[in-house]
């Protein structure tokens, strides 16, 4: 009975870990998205310097959790997110009017990371 109890305990621990991971991931993505919202607001107002500062802040927040992200997310997905950050930064520096598309792509990659962690019919199958 002891083995079964240990197995059940370990399984519960894994389930609990999954729930905590989901909460952590959601909170992290929400934080980064808040930064991206500020980036968008500043860029739409024509203040590219402020937009870059907001983007840098969002990127730094993501970078702080990079070790955690690399332990749990597929690396190609993380690489795609990094590329999207770099593309948006470059466009904002150049004050290129194509920045909204780059921001949309960045948001897409970020949300996709979060979506793939949430169990649903789509993600399971």
């Amino acid at each position: 009975m002891r083995r079964e109890a240990i197995a059940a305990g370990l399984l519960l621990l894994l389930i609990l870990g999954t729930v905590l991971h989901l909460q952590y991931t959601d909170s992290l993505i929400e934080g980064v998205e808040h930064g991206l919202d500020q980036t968008e607001q500043a860029a739409r107002a024509g203040d590219y310097k402020a937009a870059l500062r907001a983007l840098d802040s969002a990127h730094s927040l993501w970078d702080k959790h990079r070790s955690y992200a690399q332990a749990f997310f597929r690396h190609p997905d993380l690489d795609a997110l990094q590329d999207a950050f770099a593309s948006l930064e470059q466009l904002l520096r150049q004050e290129d009017p194509a920045w909204p598309a780059a921001l949309t792509l960045l948001r897409y990659h970020l949300e996709a990371l979060g979506d793939m962690e949430h169990p649903s019919i789509r993600t399971i199958f």
């Binding site: 009975m1 083995r3 079964e4 240990i6 197995a7 059940a8 370990l10 399984l11 894994l14 690399q70 332990a71 749990f72 997310f73 597929r74 690396h75 190609p76």
Partner: protein, 226 residues
């Protein structure tokens, strides 16, 4: 390259630990759930080794989950006959008193060729000798011969079979296993006497020596090194 090396070591030792904890049954004849586990674990372990883009935890967590499920299923089915039948099935009688049960053969998708193959593997070529043939839940076929066809035992022939006993290793590749020697009730003086009888002056000259509690000894000297 260092990453590949480290991942391989982590996965290898994790699997070793998991299989050790699951017990000897995994290494022998496997039941259905055990076979599923073995097949899945091997594949899961390989993915993070082949693709560095996959987090190591993506391989380890599923292995842990499967390990827990197997322990739970094995544990509960041990205590619940209905659950055991549901998961592992029931043994099937394929031959009863020399007669092949063709409906059971069909139900188990067991062909006559396979039946003969399994019986030959047990040294049986004459079906008329078989009282019962059972297809076990792990896929193994066991045949029980009619009493008249079974090999006679020493007791049936009223012969003295001598003392039995469980042989324990007392010297393995030159090394004396003191714990086994003590367990058998012998000491180094007894061992030295045995070695002297076999013409050895030291345990280092012995490749393998086993003994039973009744004093029966098997002795194999080390071969001369080239």
């Amino acid at each position: 390259m260092a990453i590949v090396l480290l991942r391989t070591l982590i996965i290898y030792f994790t699997l070793l630990l998991i299989m050790r904890l699951l017990g000897k049954r995994q290494l022998g004849e496997m039941e259905l759930s055990e076979f599923v586990l073995a097949a899945l674990i091997a594949d899961l372990a390989a993915h993070p080794l082949q693709d560095m883009g996959i987090p190591l935890l993506n391989g380890l967590i599923p292995i842990l989950v499967l390990f827990c499920c197997e322990l739970l299923i094995a544990g509960f089915s041990l205590r619940n006959i209905r659950l055991r039948s549901l998961i592992f099935g029931k043994p099937s009688l394929l031959i009863v008193r020399g007669e092949i049960l063709q409906q059971e053969m069909l139900k188990n998708r067991f062909t006559p060729d396979e039946l003969m193959q399994e019986l030959r593997a047990q040294g049986i070529t004459d079906l008329s000798q078989i009282e019962f043939a059972v297809l076990e839940t792990n896929g193994r076929l066991n045949a029980i011969l009619f009493p008249a066809e079974r090999p006679a035992t020493a007791a049936q022939l009223k012969l003295d079979a001598g003392e039995g006993g469980y042989p324990s290793i007392v010297i393995s590749d030159g090394r004396v296993l003191e714990a086994n020697l003590k367990h058998l009730g012998f000491d180094r003086r007894w061992l030295d006497r045995q070695l002297k009888e076999k013409g050895a002056s030291s345990p280092k000259q012995v490749y393998l020596m086993t003994a039973t509690a009744s004093g029966q000894v098997y002795y194999a000297a080390k071969e001369a090194q080239p």
